[in-house]
Amino acid sequence: MGISRDSRHKRAHTGAKRAQYRKKRKFELGRQAANTKIGAKRIHTVRVRGGNIKFRALRLDTGNFSWGSEASTRKARIIRVVYNASNNELVRTNTLVKGAIIEIDAAPFRQWYESHYAIPIGRRAQKTGAEATAEDPLNKKRSNHVLRKIESRKEQSKVDQALADQFAAGRVLARISSRPGQSGRADGYILEGKELDFYVRRLKARKA
């Protein structure tokens, strides 16, 4: 352990160099960064001050992501890191940190949407014959009560075009809002609205 979080080694507000008058203390310790990557789940536990435990995620492959405007949260697979405002290196190495923009698997959300609204989202136009099975959430048999509920939800089912396009590709942009190196989880929310426009523009500018 050589990482310390003290401010005694820094210059004072006036610019004066502070003399060292004591050694490093345990309560000002710092630990190595987790640098959580994408892969089969690997989490180490750390005993911290007070006897409490932190879960240092070293590798994660799934996270709990929420679709805000639909109030639906599902566990989804993390595919890759796409943007990081702080450091491009973290994008190159696919490191999961809080605030990173990632691509997640859209399948759980599409299944939820189709069973909730009975409207296809992001579906490729052809293949009409093969899909009409009883298992398909679009076509399965529903009771009268459920059909009436679906009718009442119809006008709220509109999804933003930018988001619907992502469903067609099977990958949705999301932002990590938990701290994987502290809690051991990579949870977050799906980007929508102005935030989605912001990051889509950034990504397009980078590709160009």
Binding site: S7, K10, H13, G68, S69, A85, S86, G99, Q156, K158, D160, E192, G193, K194, E195, F198, Y199, R202
Partner: protein, 156 residues
């Protein structure tokens, strides 16, 4: 918009702008609070569009507690959203029965809701948690400098 100047999307945390809702409603939902202690929250904080996670009026993260001090602005615009204040006081020397002038400088965070603050304005700051290495205070109220002649030809 004009306030998205950083690489990450700037927004008030905890305020969800539901893209489904914006039908007839106004543009963005904005959160603001009353800092207490009789300080009026500026109109620009309520109606503005800036995002500042260290603003005492529009951020849930900083609360004003502890000391409330006043001082004169001596430096503005050199640091992002931070100003330097000078506080003068008299120190008594018992041997000579007299006073000497002393001063201390103080770095304070200034929210974008205070527009047009210049050197020489008197400012009231309130103590908050450490916001950076030297900043522990947040500007709460600005009183413009009183110009004796009242014919303010300052710039132009």
């Amino acid at each position: 918009m004009a306030e998205q100047t950083q690489k990450a999307f700037q927004s008030q945390i905890g305020i969800f702008q539901n893209p489904k809702l914006t039908g007839k409603k106004r543009t963005v939902r904005r959160w603001y609070k009353d800092v207490g202690l009789g300080f009026k929250t500026p109109r620009e904080a309520i109606e503005g569009h800036y995002i500042d996670k260290k603003c005492p009026f529009t951020s849930d993260k900083v609360s004003i507690r502890g000391r409330i001090l006043t001082g004169v602005v001596i430096s503005v615009g050199k640091m992002e959203r931070t100003i330097i204040i000078r506080r003068e006081y008299l120190h008594y020397i018992p041997k000579y029965n007299r006073y000497e002038k002393r001063h201390k400088n103080l770095a304070a965070h200034m929210s974008p809701c205070f527009v047009g603050v210049e050197v020489g304005d008197v400012v009231t700051v309130g103590q908050c948690r450490p916001l950076s290495k030297t900043v522990r205070f947040n500007v709460l109220r600005v009183q413009k400098k009183i110009v004796k002649g009242a014919k303010s030809f300052a710039k132009f």
